[in-house]
């Protein structure tokens, strides 16, 4: 295990100390660093919260800020935060207009967010949920509700965050979040494992010349493990599955996110984007908004994912809206 670590037990809390030290615009509630909220909540705005396991920076808490989210609760590495922590965040960010939870489709998170929503409901806080399930590889068409949420949740945050910043109602923000969710698809590929600090060894093993298409961000199995192919062929396979999911017409616009899982250098992400862009071009589909970088990682895992959001006019406007969080800025 080649990590910069002190006692692995303190991995998450030391990381959080570092984050609060570096970013004064973030703060926390309930005397618990894992309950992050923006330092400047906006009165009357719909509150948006997220949460999930640590180890995915800049997911989740990296998107707390202007034009995005109001709060996030994070758990241990790859572990859900507790219902109590989510409830504390919820109480703080509710500005009377209700709160929307946007998080990924994992049983641990669902169970805890459900519990938190129940607790908030007892306080009279209106809480709704939109559960990201963009990972095409994790279940077949028709069983989308079983799919995992991965990097594509970024688009849901972006659209819903912009909608809330515009002052839209909870119902509208839900509608938009759900639309962004339903029009987002992601395919991932992993080249190496990550190491959970408290476990201390690789989560899974993969041959020196192998890749796994469709692997999840905690190392969940994908669709196929095979010999590492040239970058263009990897993207061809991934994009074929993405294209099969939605009816993309000539002239349609999309937003594209090429996401590094942590260990893969930026240079390679741009080589992957190059091919994505060619394939979109061949179909007459325009990549109107593009982000390439690390948006949802698995610590040091080598690999990447491609997320495509099928835009309509409303999503186009919202995705392009400004945002300013410690980890993500859009001007």
């Amino acid at each position: 295990m080649k990590k910069f670590l002190n006692d692995p037990v303190n991995f998450v809390d030391e990381m959080l100390e570092g984050i609060y030290g570096a970013h004064k615009e973030l703060t926390y509630v309930a005397d618990d660093k894992r309950c992050m909220v923006t330092a400047k909540p906006r009165a009357g705005k719909v509150g948006i919260a997220t949460g999930g396991g640590s180890g995915h920076l800049p997911l989740f808490l990296g998107y707390v800020g202007d034009g995005m989210l109001d709060g996030a609760a994070v758990g241990g590495v790859f572990q859900s935060p507790s219902a109590e922590q989510m409830y504390q965040v919820t109480k703080h960010i509710d500005q009377g207009a209700g709160v929307l939870y946007i998080y990924g489709n994992y049983s641990g998170d669902i169970i805890n967010f459900d519990m938190a929503a129940e607790l908030a409901d007892l306080d009279g806080i209106q809480v709704k949920q939109v559960v990201g399930n963009d990972d095409v590889a994790s279940s077949i068409v028709g069983e989308e509700h079983k799919r995992r949420g991965v990097a594509g949740i970024f688009f849901v945050y972006k659209a819903a965050g912009a909608a809330a910043a515009e002052g839209l109602s909870l119902d509208d923000v839900i509608r938009i979040a759900d639309k962004a969710r339903s029009r987002t698809r992601t395919m991932g590929v992993a080249l190496s494992s990550c190491v959970v600090p408290e476990i201390g060894h690789a989560t899974f093993s993969i041959g020196e010349d192998e890749m796994e298409i469709g692997m999840g961000i905690h190392g969940e199995p994908g669709i196929s493990r095979k010999k590492l192919a040239p970058a263009d062929r990897v993207i061809d396979e991934m994009m074929e599955r993405i294209f099969a999911e939605q009816d993309y017409k000539r002239g349609d616009d999309v937003a594209v996110l090429v996401n590094g899982l942590g260990g893969t250098p930026m240079e390679e992400l741009y080589i992957l984007f190059r091919r994505v862009s060619q394939l979109l071009g061949e179909r007459g589909v325009k990549a109107k908004h593009v982000w390439v970088g690390e948006f949802a990682t698995s610590m040091e895992m080598a690999g990447a994912s491609v997320s495509v959001l099928h835009l309509d006019e409303e999503l186009d406007r919202l995705v392009a809206a400004p945002a300013n969080t410690p980890f993500f800025k859009h001007v």
């Binding site: 572990q79 859900s80 049983s107 641990g108 169970i111 805890n112 519990m115 079983k146 408290e198």
Partner: protein, 211 residues
């Protein structure tokens, strides 16, 4: 022992704590096969925290209160799927044992019935889905039958432990439908479910404790 007193319960949590220290690596590797390897960590953490919390609270609090403390502590310290489900189980068991001074066979049956119902409601799994529930349900059912026929606590728990062992074996042939294991589909067949293993460990350890 004939019945579990508040002081016994505190010692039982000590036993459970030791159990999961011992089984930590086994559960890590079991969960690692078709999951994310965290189960050994979350269970050892949550039972250690629960054991300390109930010990700190002391027997004077009474059984129901101790169980509530255990559940709340676990929810806080290990909010993984199993962490929250077992926490929910203990919170419901706390409700079910309100007013009980000691836990005899009938009360223990009520304890595990409430535990099972809590897990079922929170997790929304069905029987046969290859989860913890597939061991919890036979536990509750067996204990009720044992209580009905007036079995001693030790007898009842011994029979229940045996039933749980069998139920755990049965999870091998099931196909996982929930959580991280669901992604592994057919690969889960032949493997015993990790959460169900925890359920079995809990009841076996309880049976040994009173036996």
């Amino acid at each position: 022992m004939d019945a579990i007193k508040a002081s016994d319960l505190i010692r039982l949590f000590e036993t459970w704590k030791a159990l999961f220290v011992e089984q930590r690596d086994f559960l890590i590797s079991l969960d690692g096969k078709v999951g994310d390897s965290d189960l050994g960590i979350t269970m050892s953490k949550s039972f250690a925290a629960a054991a300390e919390a109930v010990a700190a609270e002391g027997e004077a609090a009474g059984i129901s209160k101790l169980l509530r403390t255990a559940g709340a502590t676990m929810a806080r310290t290990a909010p993984s799927t199993m962490g929250t489900l077992t926490a929910t189980g203990f919170l419901r068991a706390s409700k079910a044992t309100e007013g009980a001074e000691v836990l005899g066979t009938a009360e223990v049956a009520g304890f595990w019935r409430a535990f099972r119902d809590g897990v079922a409601e929170r997790g929304k799994a069905k029987l046969g889905d290859k989860t913890l529930l597939d061991v919890l349900d036979p536990i509750a059912v067996t204990l009720e039958a044992q209580a009905e026929r007036g079995a001693s606590l030790a007898e009842a728990l011994a029979a229940t432990s045996a039933a749980a062992a069998q139920a755990l074996q049965s999870t091998k042939s099931m196909l996982a439908q929930h959580g991280k294991a669901a992604a592994f589909q057919e690969k889960t067949i032949g493997l015993q479910d990790a959460g169900a293993t925890v359920g079995y460990f809990l009841i076996r350890s309880m049976a040994d404790f009173v036996g």
